[in-house]
Structures are given as C-alpha cells and as structure tokens.
Symmetry: D3
Subunit: 120 residues, 6 copies
C-alpha cells in the first residue's frame, strides 16, 4: 500500500495529466473542488473532516487518502478522525469497513507539518 | 411537501413501528445510530453537519430532513449549513441537486428551539 | 402510502407501459429479471429474500415492495424477513432505515395467498 | 404523477429557492452544470442523452425528467431514447426499472417545441 | 490477485489495526456485523449468501471475498453460489461484472474445511 | 497500471472463466450486454460514449477501460471523450476524479485500429 507521501505525489502527477487534457469546464470543476474546502463560516478542519466522511460513505479510497491527509494537516486529532469515521461507518454500513482499513493503515504514515492548524 | 414538524412526527411513528417488529440486532443498530452523534471530541453540531453531508451525497431525503433539523437545533447557522451542502454538492455532483431543493425547502420550516446549542 | 395490492396493480400497469414502448433488448432484460427468481438449487423463497436484501441495500422502495410481497407469497415468515432486513441494515447502514420504515409499513398490508409455498 | 410541464415549473421555482440561499461556490456549480450540456464536439442532443443515461443509472427521477425533456427538445426520437434507456438498464440493472417506468410515463406528456433540433 | 487464504490473513491483520484504534461505537458495530450472520430463523448459509448478494450489488470486492469464503465454509454448493451471483448480476447490472470476475477467480482458491456445514 | 492491451487480455481471460462457470441466465445477460451497444438508431460510437459516461458516474475502472477502448475504436475523438467525461464529472461529482485519472492515464495507451469507425 502507498504511504501518504507516495499517494500525494501520485495524485499530483495524475491531476496534472488530467488537467493537461481537460477542457474549460473540467478545469472550472477542479477549481471549485479546491474552493469549497477553504476557510469560511466553517473551519478548514471541519470541512476536511466532512470531506472524509463523504469520501468514506461513497467508498473512494483515493478521496479518503486526500481528506485524511488534509484533516491531519489542519490539526484534526486522532480522536476526532475516529469519531468522523464512526459516523461514516454507521451511515454507510459494513460495506465501508474495507475503507476504514485503508484509512487506519494510511493514518500512521501521515507526517504532521508545522503549518499552523486552523483553530476551531 | 412535509414541513419539519410533520416529518419529525412521521419519523417517530414509523420508527416505533420498525422497532416493534425488530429483533435485538436491529434494536442495537438503532441505539448505535443514536450514540455516534453524541458529544465527544467533536461537538454535536459538527457531527450533525457531517450526518447532513453524508445524507446528501448518499441522496436520502428523509435522512437529510433529520440531520438538517438536528443541525439547526444544535445551533448551526444558515451559512454553515450552506457551506456543508456546498461540499456535498461538489463531492456528490449534480445528481444531488434535487436533494438541495429538498433541504432548502425544508429549512424555512424548522423552528429553532430554546435548547442551548452546543458551543463549538 | 400504497398498500400491497395497490402497489402490485400500479407496477403491472406501468410495466405494461414500459414493455409497449420497449425494444427487443429491454424485453429480454425483463424476461431475465423474471427467470433468475425461478426454482433452482436455491428455493424461490431464498431467492426472493435475496432480492429483498439487494433492494434494501440499493435503497429502492418499489423493488422492496415487490420482493417483500413475493417473499411472503413464497412462505417467508416475519422472523425470516426481519433477519434478512437486519443483514441489509448492517451492510447498508443507517441510510437504509427509511426503507425499513417502508418495508415494515407495507408488510402489514400483504395478504398471504393459498398458493403452496416452496419448502426450503 | 407530475406531467412534463408541471415538473419543469416546480424545478424552476425550487432552483430559484436554492440559488437565493446559496453562496458563490454553489452558484458556480449551477453555471457549470448548465455549460457542460452546451454544443461542442458532441451535439446538445448527444449530451442530453448522456445526461439521461447517467441519471438513470444513478436512479434520480427528477434528473431523468429534466434530461428526457431536454433530449426531446433537442430532437431525440423515441427510438433513440429507448436505446439510451436500454443501455442504462443493462449497465444499472433491474434496480433501474422503477425509473424506466417513470421515464416512459413522463415521455407521453412532453410537447415537442418548434425550436430547431440540433442536427447530429 | 490474492488467494482466499491470503485475503483472510490480510483481513484479520487489518481488522485488528482498525479495532486497536477504534472507539466504543466502532467496536459495537463490528460486534453487530458478526452477530447478524449467526444461526437464526434463517440458516448461516442463507445469511452468508445474502451477504454475498449485497456485497456484489454494492460492488465491494473485499466484502465479496469474505462472504464467498463463509458461504463455502457453510456448505454452499457452486450451483447455489452461481444462482446467488446471477441475482446480483440482474439486480445490479453489468457494472457488477468485474466483481463476478473477482468472485469466480477467488472461488477456485477456497479450501473447504471439515467444519460441518449447517443443514438447510 | 495496466495499459489498454493488457487490460483487454485480462478482461477476455476472466470473462471466459466467468462464462465457464455460469448458468444460462448469466450467459444471457452477457449476450444482452453485448447487444445493447450494437448499431441502431444511435451509432455504436454514441452508445460506447454513453457506456463510458455511465461507467464513470458509477465509478467502475474496469468498465471505463472497456468503453474507452471501444469509443476510440469507433472513432471518438479526444475532444468528444473529454466532453463525455466532463458530463460524468459534473453529474457524478469530485468522487469521480480518481476515475478521470484512470481514464486519462489509459487513453494514451490505446492504439487506434484500421477498422472503419461508424460515421455519426
């Protein structure tokens, strides 16, 4: 399994490939996908955790990896992450369990940065 | 369309019907479904908003109604709700738009209670 | 909410409408959709209960109504139905709960026929 | 069941409600959702039929209604629509059948306009 | 591709990792996920086959592997498994075909144990 | 990642395995799955692009690979493919982005054959 750094590198390379072949609509979608996780009435951390829950109930490992890394970078504690994943598990059912395995395996490989987390 | 109070009443009646016919496993699931939204490292409000996002990307109007009402009761502002729904829209795509219509139509019918909202 | 007889009547009328406008491929699909629930190594009852589980985790009320009625006609007991729905609930998560409400509400309106149930 | 004109009127009213409460990201998503169906290398008709297929496999009646009406307005014949729905049925399985019933019931209520259809 | 024994070993290791990091709600969910497949009005075999059908229409290879192995351990014959997968294919559509490929490839690698199968 | 030729070879081998173990219903489904993409009122190219859109919103990489290869063989241009994927992205949301990465990565490995594409 990829660790967090390997995932992030592959994601960046592949997104560049997609964008190099995309038209204006696709580029706009990617911009929008970035913007909705920005600081607003809800903190970045709260939004990334929402992205993590959404990704887990929709069962997308690549999306889980991304929002898990971002949640940690924004200062989410392990307890907060486990509570968010617990909501996803109950909402989405046992079919999400393989994705919990993915999330928990990746979690140990994420390095916290010095970037100041958003205060919530 | 049902307003918030009508929805809440129907939900309670129908859940009683389900529980009256259910076995122990089903009852335990319902208890668990209540517990994961309780106060923890994350606030009740943050958890209800996560439930709202999960319900929207999974496109379940009854579930949206429930978590929307609970989010308001826990003190979520309209701006916070719109930001949460915006994340759901981008993650889940245009197929969630009919559910935004449902959420926005219900939102105006929810009465805020005096119950002190959880501070986040 | 429709009772079981009203549902069955609407389903028949609407399926006739679909078939009257369909091409050969669509007609073949409908034939296949009938055949897979026929007696085989697995009994009709077991297959209808599988159809019920699949319909519940995929969250399709019309499909649930159909397989619930058929399960009862094939002799499934209420306990067997509740166990099947319990599996669907755990696999599919709380997002299936509105569909349990639908199933449990319909269940009381299904009349058992004299057709000998398949023995399992 | 709503006919095509009633659906279109409700959709417009409800979309106005959503947009009146939405933030910039949501408005941008709605703009994007309009743009991707515009004339391009693929005709509008081809794109609306793709929207119809996507809506059917994702099992969203409101979305089916919209793309079915637009497909007809862009000149799609009944045979083309049935072939598109046939692909959706095979890809998405019997769980889409209730949505075929919806589509076929609505189809008879759509009035063709004089707007010149796109030639494909 | 993993064979059945390799899958079972990885599943056990990863579940231990999840449980070691999980809170009480998550642990309770895992217990519930075990209990619903226990002997009841429906046999263990019937329940595992239902789990297989649910896993296939929800398109989760890890879940398919688990329920396929359990179904075989509980005495399900190849014919019964093929009939169950056939229902899943018709309900869930061609999008499940890659998962049939997974199931059929794994099936040949499962060793039947001496554990007495439940009689149905 | 597999290139297009490796994918096609694996798909053929695995489909043979499935069919060798399947019953009549399963075989009929596979035949139907072939037939709906045949020339009709809609061209083969239009149908394969619809299959591509459906596969993308349902997030099935193996299915995307198949319909992407077929779309190219039927003469779809890169611009047409990008427009089709753009519709899938907007309908299905950011959760489809990992599948765009898959599609765009595979696209460069598909060799166009001399088979005359269908004119549309």
């Amino acid at each position: 399994m990829e660790n967090a750094a390997e995932y992030a590198a592959r994601r960046e390379t592949q997104n560049e490939l997609v964008l190099s072949q995309s038209d204006l609509s696709m580029k706009r979608f990617f911009a929008l996908d970035h913007d909705v996780y920005g600081e607003g009435s809800l903190s970045k951390k709260a939004k990334e955790l929402m992205g993590l829950v959404a990704s887990t109930v929709l069962r997308c490992n690549d999306c889980i990896s991304h929002h898990l890394i971002e949640s940690v970078q924004q200062g989410a504690s392990e307890k907060e992450i486990v509570e968010a994943l617990g909501i996803a598990l109950v909402v989405g059912g046992s079919i999400t369990i393989p994705h919990l395995r993915h999330a928990m395996s990746l979690l140990g490989t994420i390095e916290r940065t010095d970037e100041a987390p958003s205060a919530e």
